[in-house]
């Protein structure tokens, strides 16, 4: 059964103290792109408050997991150039291995990947069942049964699967099933397609003979190293969160039907939130928006949400 869905952003700032923010920010700037005026308003005190709110957001989501006690957490996330290279970019891909090996090191800080390793137990039989069911539902989804990262092998696995789980599942032995959704390398799946994908996952997890939680990772609006690096589309983020809060994720299907600078880069990861909404809404779920932080010094609209389902 599907009893809980969570959604959380994955900006690297969320996992490091304030002293590290500027170095990360500098690494994500694009030459010649001026920063928005809001940046100047974000004083040290404001950033302190952001960090507190980020910690509280994680704590709230962690409490939801602790209360629900899932048997498995299905994680929807996008690759950030670690697991895949131009050799092959899957639109969707299920990881069916025994465990996930990765690193939460942040390159911009010069961190050694071997000093930040994570290992997460997986649930291969369930992953294969999910994979088979998704194919049966008409999704042409890849599978990955062994890790052979092609992009940046030293990091092992896309950060979407290692970073949030390192906080939310710290000290836990709950297995995970990573599912990749291509949110960054064009051509990417449409909002309609990821909505259908989320609906299928919701139906499949609901029929599963164990307690499943869904964790979706990424977004909200941000474009590090892109044409609008540093800019946050607060209108867009508000639109997304409002409709998830109403249980109306179908309004988000058309989000990527147009090409636009404002939908490029990391903003594409909003796809995972659309999928989460669609999955939760198969059970009538409406998102509880825990927090939204338009953190310009992290050049990301940072969101936390959960769907508590019957």
């Amino acid at each position: 059964m599907l009893g809980l869905a969570l959604a959380v952003s994955n900006a690297p700032y969320m996992y490091r103290p304030k002293k590290d923010w500027q170095a990360i920010y500098d690494s994500q700037l694009t030459d010649g792109v001026e920063s928005p005026n809001e940046l100047a308003d974000e004083t040290e005190e404001v950033v302190d408050d952001y960090i507190l709110r980020i910690q509280e957001g994680f704590s709230t989501l962690r409490a939801q997991l602790d209360q629900y006690k899932p048997d498995v957490v299905v994680v929807l996330g996008s690759d950030d150039g670690i697991s895949f290279s131009d050799a092959q970019v899957p639109q969707f891909c299920t990881y069916t291995g025994d465990e996930v090996m990765g690193s939460t090191a942040i390159a911009a800080l010069g961190e050694d990947p071997t000093a930040h390793t994570v290992e997460l137990p997986c649930l291969p039989n369930f992953a294969w069942e999910l994979q088979t069911s998704l194919v049966h539902h008409g999704f042409d989804i890849n599978y990955m049964s062994i890790q052979n990262p092609l992009g940046r092998p030293e990091y092992g696995m896309a950060s979407a699967f290692t970073r949030p789980t390192s906080v939310l599942l710290e000290g836990s032995s709950v297995p995970v099933v990573p599912v990749f959704v291509n949110c960054r390398v064009e051509p990417t799946p449409s909002g309609h397609r990821v909505h259908d994908f989320g609906t299928a996952i919701g139906d499949i997890l609901e029929d599963a003979p164990l307690k499943a939680a869904l964790l979706t990772v990424g977004g909200l609006s941000h474009d590090p190293n892109g044409a609008r690096s540093g800019w946050i589309d607060t209108r867009l983020d508000s639109f997304v969160l409002t409709h998830l809060g109403k249980g109306d994720s179908s309004r988000l299907k058309t989000l990527f039907d147009v090409d636009s600078d404002t939908l490029s880069g990391g903003t594409g990861e909003v796809r995972t939130w659309i999928a989460a909404g669609a999955a939760a809404e198969t059970k009538g779920g409406k998102a509880t928006i825990v927090d939204y932080i338009p953190a310009h010094r992290a050049m990301t609209g940072i969101g936390f949400a959960h769907w508590t389902l019957d």
């Binding site: 010649g32 589309d233 607060t234 058309t254 989000l255 600078d261």
Partner: protein, 319 residues
Amino acid sequence: MSLGLGIGVSHAPGMYMKTEEQWDRLWHILSVDRGIPQPAAVYEEKGEHLQEMIRRIDAGHTELKRVYDEYDPEILIIIGGDQVEEFDRSNVPQLMMYLGEEAVGSIPGGQMRSAEGDATMTMSVDVDFSQWLLTKLVKQEGFDISFSRELKNLPGRRKGIPHAFINPASYLLDTERTKVCLIFENTYDPPSLTAKRCYELGKAIARLVKNDPRRITILGSGGLSHDPGGKRSGWVDVPLDKWFLDQLATGNGRATEAMYTFNSDTMVGGTGENRAWITVAGAMEEMGSNATVLDYVEARKTVTGLGFAYWPTQEAARA
């Protein structure tokens, strides 16, 4: 002859300015003086590069005028919006047809805003045609269109008809030869019309007029991406504009119905004026025509992605 020609064209005030000094002044008023951080590409708009942009804008206008004159329409339908020139929040129509005998407005050129006493032009409205089209659209096609028989600007507003109508008419229209039909779309004040509604309006107009014996042109005025004075003033969304024009060029105007289905900093402001183009696309695709895109100019000092396009038909070619 019926609906033989469609036109889509931007109407930004900077398009009528001919010197770098004028462009810089406009840019400062709309963006720099408001403290809005600017994209790097704007600083390349100077010297010969800027003069080349001005030449391309003039060439776009000239080619549209040539196509327009060749067809020589008897009626020009203009789809445009109001930017707090005629209406304030006391009554913002989503759709409105103007049924007065004449429509007067200030001719663009040189100044940011036309002052009292600027040169004006007077367009003759084809009241009978407009009334007929209004009635059909309301009673037969299900559009809830307001109408106005008197141009009465609100106190403190610019005099005359909004610039969305006058600016393209100023270089296309021969007022002695052609009457106009003016359709206001709410392109600027949210909540605005959906793109789907705008496309359907165009199709309905085409269905109604396609058997009319007169030569009719429909023109969508405004866009493309821009937000003058707004949070992203000067940040032209080039991928959006190119995608938009590509849909029109391939006869895929239906795809543009995705515009405005979500809220975003990039969809507000003048980008909403793409609605007028979408209505033309609906009309001309109903007539079996795809857009010919003449040019697209990323003119950040005019804070606008400038588009020039027309939809030809076989009937126009025979005209």
